[in-house]
């Protein structure tokens, strides 16, 4: 997968968890908790979905590394390489 495909996949799973968020309004540096209002249950649901879709198991200690779309893309690219 290309980095952009990974970014889109992350954004899709993010908006699945929070259907009220329009993908076009999400900035690359918007914090999923502080700015987009996801709580710990949402984050766990997101991480589970990413695991199912991309096969990447994100441990709790790495949660801060997927806190924005930009960070998440870079992290997932690294994990999938």
């Amino acid at each position: 997968m290309t980095p952009d495909q990974i970014r889109i996949a992350f954004l899709e799973e993010l908006t699945n968890v929070a259907p009220d968020i329009e993908p076009d309004t999400v900035g690359p540096d918007d914090h999923i908790q502080d700015d987009l209002g996801l709580d710990s249950m949402d984050v766990l649901t997101l991480v589970t979905a990413l695991h199912d879709r991309l096969g990447v198991d994100i441990p709790e200690v790495d949660y801060p590394r997927i806190a924005t779309v930009s960070l998440a893309r870079d992290y997932l690219v690294g994990r999938l390489a």
Binding site: D20, S40, L44, T45, T48
Partner: protein, 391 residues
């Protein structure tokens, strides 16, 4: 033969709109089977059947608004044969039964002496006080209204009829109204008191981090699940916080069905219950929480989850205010409110150390509990959370 009627869907709900039938005449139903879906102010709720047997007839149409007690279906018990005469009689009996009324009976009033109409002063529009207040609220000029009261006076009904036709409320607005009604009723009828305690959750969070390490996301447990488990175990020890308060007084419940306050992204709040939580271990409870939150957000909760909660846990989550003194959901008698955790100074072994602390506040119904029971609950909860491996 029994008529299955519309069940009450919560303390504040009085009616719902039938949107889907999930059974047809001829189907067999068991107690607890989901038979229909009803749209309410709190979203779509799946209605569970109380009767067992075979569906003989569906008595309500899709799209109809059904108050609590409205007939939904005729269920024939196994082995029962019904003579036609009884069926006809039952149908009329059902129609004659008035819908369930929750308002108290009006107080008898002393007879009012006969009232003579006095001619109004020139230029004054005759109107009732209620009409005048309402017109002022709505910004209407009484001079423009036609009165239907005595002597052409304008009464409240005239003002109400004049106001702009109400635009249909959004589901979010409907939910807000439902929450407003429930919370108002709670504060008006339940004598609340509150007890708080700061709890060191460092052992719990450390234990959680090591429990979750190496586990795939689908098997991880959240701090909220630990709080829920501690609530269940503490409620098992302090039975006066777990149950319902009705006209007959407080009735403790054998089962512990903790309600979970779930914030909806659209801005609403529901508090569906996990049934029989005392039977579940921590991992099972976490799975039940995930499922409940997902269904709450999708708007697919079951009627039993809306009505059989025996105590509610409301946690602000990871970020937010440090404590919450919440409003009890009637007919429950307690609400456990937990603020967001924060790293704060604490005293351990005589020295000050930074620890992860949360503030727990129990809101309790003073008719069912006093300070002693509420204190015991907090002490149990605290003790359980300090040994998380035992949860």
């Amino acid at each position: 033969m029994a008529v299955f009627t519309m069940p009450s869907l919560g303390a504040d709900m009085e009616a719902g709109r039938l949107i889907e039938w999930l059974v047809a005449p001829g189907d067999t139903v068991a107690r607890g089977d989901i038979v229909a879906v009803v749209e309410t102010q709190k979203g779509a709720i799946e209605i569970e059947c109380f009767e067992e047997g075979t569906v003989r007839e569906l008595l309500a149409d899709i799209g109809s608004d059904l108050p609590v007690g409205a007939p939904l279906a005729m269920i024939q018990a196994e082995g029962e044969t019904i003579p036609e005469a009884v069926v006809a009689e039952q149908a009329t009996t059902v129609e004659a039964e008035p819908p369930v009324v929750s308002a108290p009976a009006p107080q008898p009033v002393a007879p009012i002496p006969p009232w003579t109409l006095q001619a109004p002063a020139a230029g004054v529009v005759p109107s009732s006080p209620a009409a005048r207040i309402r017109a002022k609220q709505l910004g209407l000029d009484l001079a423009n209204l036609k009165g239907s009261g005595p002597g052409g006076a304008i009464v409240l009904a005239d003002v109400e009829a004049e106001k702009a036709p109400q635009t249909k409320r959004t589901p979010q607005e409907e939910m807000r109204r439902a929450i407003a009604a429930a919370m108002t009723r709670s504060k008006q009828t339940i004598p609340h008191f509150y007890l708080s305690q700061t709890i060191d959750v460092t052992p719990a969070m450390d234990w959680l981090a090591s429990f979750n390490e190496g586990k795939p996301p689908s098997e991880r447990v959240l701090l909220g699940a630990l709080f829920l488990r501690a609530t269940v175990l503490a409620a098992a020890k302090v039975k006066t916080v777990n149950g319902h308060f009705t006209e007959e007084g407080f009735k403790p419940s054998d089962k512990i069905n903790p309600g979970l306050a779930v914030a909806l992204r659209s801005g609403g709040l529901v508090a569906p219950a996990i049934l029989d939580a005392e039977q579940m271990g921590l991992v099972e409870l976490m799975a039940a929480m995930r499922d409940l939150v997902a269904r709450a957000r999708a708007g697919r909760l079951r009627s039993s989850e809306m009505t059989e909660g025996t105590i509610t846990l409301s946690s602000l989550g990871d970020t937010g205010a440090e404590s919450m003194a919440g409003v009890i959901f009637p007919p429950q008698v307690a609400l456990v409110g937990i603020g967001a955790p924060g790293l704060r100074p604490w005293v351990i072994d005589g020295t000050v150390a930074p620890r992860q602390l949360v503030t727990l506040t129990i809101s309790a119904d003073h008719r069912a509990n006093d300070g002693r029971q509420a204190s015991r609950f907090i002490a149990e909860f605290n003790s359980l959370l300090s040994s998380p491996e035992a949860l």
